[in-house]
Symmetry: C2
Subunit: 218 residues, 2 copies
Amino acid sequence: MSANFSKNSLKHQIAQQIKKLIFEGELEQGEKITELQVAQNLGVSRTSVREAMLLLELEGLLISEPYKDTRVTTISQEEVLELLIPMRLHIEIYALKKGFPIWDEEIKEQFKLILANMRKAIRYEDLSTFIELDIQLHELIVMSSQLENVIRIWESIVHRIRLHFLYQNRKSGTLEKWLVDHEELVDILINGNSVEEAVKTLRKHIVDTNIPEVYLLD
Amino acid sequence: MSANFSKNSLKHQIAQQIKKLIFEGELEQGEKITELQVAQNLGVSRTSVREAMLLLELEGLLISEPYKDTRVTTISQEEVLELLIPMRLHIEIYALKKGFPIWDEEIKEQFKLILANMRKAIRYEDLSTFIELDIQLHELIVMSSQLENVIRIWESIVHRIRLHFLYQNRKSGTLEKWLVDHEELVDILINGNSVEEAVKTLRKHIVDTNIPEVYLLD
DNA sequence: TGAAATTAGATTGTCGACAATCAGACAAAG
DNA sequence: CTTTGTCTGATTGTCGACAATCTAATTTCA
């Protein structure tokens, strides 16, 4: 039940279910997925499943050719590190610049809530929940810009990134280190009063948590 | 009949038709478009039209809410200049770096062909064809990287950019100036022998032809 | 034996029909 | 006159059936 506004049609729900299968590792990269199988499992018609799968294809999670089977996308580490993450950085900074000035108390409360849940996840050593919350945090930043196009582009890129890291060892650093990182970020976001400061912190955060030293050339 | 490889299912054809309507100005930004209307015009079933429209929605050309009508997307100039064009720049440079080393004679011939058609378009003062060719040129650069994910992301971003400029006055400079610009680009792409040189030229090209001086801050 | 042709089953593509929902017209009540 | 409620037509959402295509196993023929 992630933070979605008005997208509650059946195809979106189905897409969500399939996403869950992928992100929880039930479906691996390159694995085949058929319409009928999903339709029967969920008790819906193939038409709706088709639309859901088209959605996921366009979001970059699935790949298909006409009359051939559909499979979970394979993404190279190189693409993720050199292309997707820099683009993600660009988008989130843009969204932050646009959103920051119009943040109200409610949004700040949401930041605090996510952070509280993160602390809880750490306490139970629940990694998958923590990752979910990490994404929610960044999603909130992007959503708060209220720019529909920006939100969509961001989603499609983050999905691809997430798909990749699923099957990789997560980078070095303990969970606690991660938590501290996020605490600092949220503190600046909520209590800081210049956009520049917030942008600088966000940039550092994304770079620190995503990009190995070797790629930090330019 | 633009350069598409394996995407010849009905939904792609229909999407292409609708795209044409949009890019030729038959449909304006914010204008309503209904499934039945398109289905009857093209003599196909609504199901295929639905899928085509979903495609275009995910590509960023259309926008819809459940049970509400679907409309042609509206995109702000700010978004285009500050977000989309920088992202486009990033993607094309990445694709060029990956593709350049593996270009063969056939690809170089395609570059020359596009350029020749550009000269022809200029001679007949055919602006819309010229714009089409401009996109084909950049598409060729991206396609030659053979990276499926990169191609898709690029397409969705360029569509949005194109949609915006459709309804704006194109930036200053005569057609002839444009042509010279492209001649130089293709020359370096085909005859240059270092990737760095090609990247530098492409960057300058995109910046020159897309971004007004005021945005060239960082 | 082995390569080409054929066939069978599974899977995707396309369709028309029916259900759910919405927007606007119109009427009733205050 | 405004507001509320009810209808109606238009549009989108969902479905099951049938057609087209692919894959892989089987058969045919040199």
